[in-house]
């Protein structure tokens, strides 16, 4: 079933405040955006979402974060999903300068794409279309 774009729920995880605000601004026209400033914060958000019965449609996770990095965060979130019997949230990594190893590690944990920073609105929207979260006709990219 195609999710209704009005009910899409996003979780943006980035230690950099400006990074969070940019994605929040870009995604807010397609659904509800929550933000977390690090891995622990993301785990708390996951617990709350699971408790409310409304998990995220898309997780956008920064790789290069101090403390718990994006790959470790993703592993912990996957572990949480397994323990709770939840399906894997579609996950897109975002990065300014990641190595092939980082990207491979994220793919191994089921990440389905990555976005290069600084983020471009068109790339973000095209990703939403590719992941079938929105229809191309509602992307705002077609006249």
């Amino acid at each position: 079933m195609q999710p209704d774009s009005e009910t899409l729920k996003f979780l943006v995880v980035d230690d950099i405040g400006t990074g969070r605000s940019v994605l929040e601004a870009m995604l807010s026209r397609y659904g509800e955006v929550e933000t977390a400033s690090g891995g622990e914060d993301a785990l708390s958000a996951y617990r709350e979402a699971a408790a409310s019965g409304e998990m995220y449609d898309l997780l956008l996770l920064d790789i290069d974060m101090p403390g718990m990095d994006g790959i470790t965060t993703l592993k912990k979130l996957r572990e949480f999903e397994r323990l709770e019997g939840l399906s894997e949230t579609k996950t897109v990594m975002q990065t300014a300068s990641s190595t092939r190893e980082h990207v491979q590690a994220a793919v191994a944990e089921g990440a389905v794409g990555y976005l290069l920073k600084p983020l471009n609105f068109v790339d973000v929207v095209e990703m939403l279309v590719r992941l079938e979260l929105i229809e191309e006709s509602e992307s705002g990219l077609v006249d």
Binding site: I16, G19, S21, P66, P118, N120, F121
Partner: protein
Amino acid sequence: MTVLDRDALVRRLMGNEELAATIINGFLDEIPDQMGPLREAVEQRDSPTVQRLAHGLKGSASTVGAIALSEATARLEAAGRAEDLDDAGALLGKVDCCVQELIGEVSATSGTA
């Protein structure tokens, strides 16, 4: 060196000038909170913290198109990573200078876009 490539930011936001202004102003509001701890870390010669804080500031600067500031913070981040803070005071001075230039440029152009 370009202080602020506002056009690039606006292009990345699909021409949304208002959103670009909001993001730039949000970044300027955040800078003091980032510069204070960064200055303290340089004074205490705390390389890992210098690296981490400079990295964060670099990411934000790059996001808004503050090119000169992004490059200045990249040099400070590299010094932190190399655990060589001998020139960190001068590098921080350059970062400070870029911040002032950025504030100047934003106030000079605000309201004219």
